[in-house]
């Protein structure tokens, strides 16, 4: 089983507020704030990586350890 950390906002300054990550998140963990992406509900994050894989701006990070 993969053991993962939940989503982190690694580079908030690089966010261009396109909203793609919000649209692909299956559990509504993210929301778009005035200044960029924000964590809306970290507990709901299932570490699926959808957001960090598709983010065009390298803003989001999900650390996955494949044991």
């Amino acid at each position: 089983m993969a053991r993962s950390d939940k989503v982190q906002i690694e580079n908030p300054d690089w966010c261009k507020k396109c909203g793609i990550c919000v649209s692909v998140c299956p559990t509504d963990a993210l929301k778009l704030g005035d200044k960029g992406i924000e964590i809306y509900n970290l507990d709901s994050c299932i570490s699926c990586e959808q957001c960090s894989l598709i983010c065009p701006d390298f803003v989001l990070k999900v650390v996955v350890n494949y044991d």
Partner: protein, 274 residues
Amino acid sequence: MDIYKYLRKEKLPHIWCPGCGHGTILNSFVRAFDKSGLNQDKTVVISGIGCSGRATGYLNFDSLHTTHGRAIAFATGVKMANPELNVIVMTGDGDGAAIGGNHLIHAARRNIDLTVILFNNQIYGMTGGQFSPMTPEGANATTAPYGNIDRNFDLCQLTKAAGATFTARGATFNPRQLTNIIKKALLHKGFSFVESFTQCPVRYGKLNQTADPVDMLKLQKQKTADIKKWLQFSDEEKEIIYPLGVLNEEINPENEYTFRYQKIIEKTLEKGVL
């Protein structure tokens, strides 16, 4: 996985527009590179002109930002001069399929060991939205104000017919698949071609009533299907839906161009004549 070691962090954020898919392709590329196990110091990334041309500046490798359409020709020189290097070309649909189309088919014909990733946003973005050879028929562009009448290439079929031994298509709505495709392309010995659909909300979208990147990704998904599924489609469906995945792969490293030239060198050296 530390993807940031493959990026020149000090050059980010990049110049691409909000919602542009080019960053997603770059994101998939660095992950694919990490998974490939290739040596970062023995890798050169080469691009031409246009939005895709800027990709190499953000990548922490030896990198070359060349002239419009010619990246593959520069790359051929690098690879031939030092076949130990992994040489990767990043190009666009204008750069690679229009002005650089001749280099694309001839590099495929030689089957030289390059990996070409073509960022297909179906428009000339950098110059403001003129139609490219990949702009869909009927779509609007600043130089096709009454709808585009130019027909498109099927770039994967084109390069395959020209001799490419690896062709694949991905799309930014599915970065997991795109990453896998690029990884396979990087490890393939021979000419490998990856076309990736990428959304251009600002230049293409605004002219075609799809300015929201999320909507554009949904549209991408509707117009594509995984190759396994696609093969089951009717002929009519195949006409309008693009297959995604690895479409063609021939494994024969001895057919690769630099390998074959090395054989000529060995032959002349055996003769020992100067």
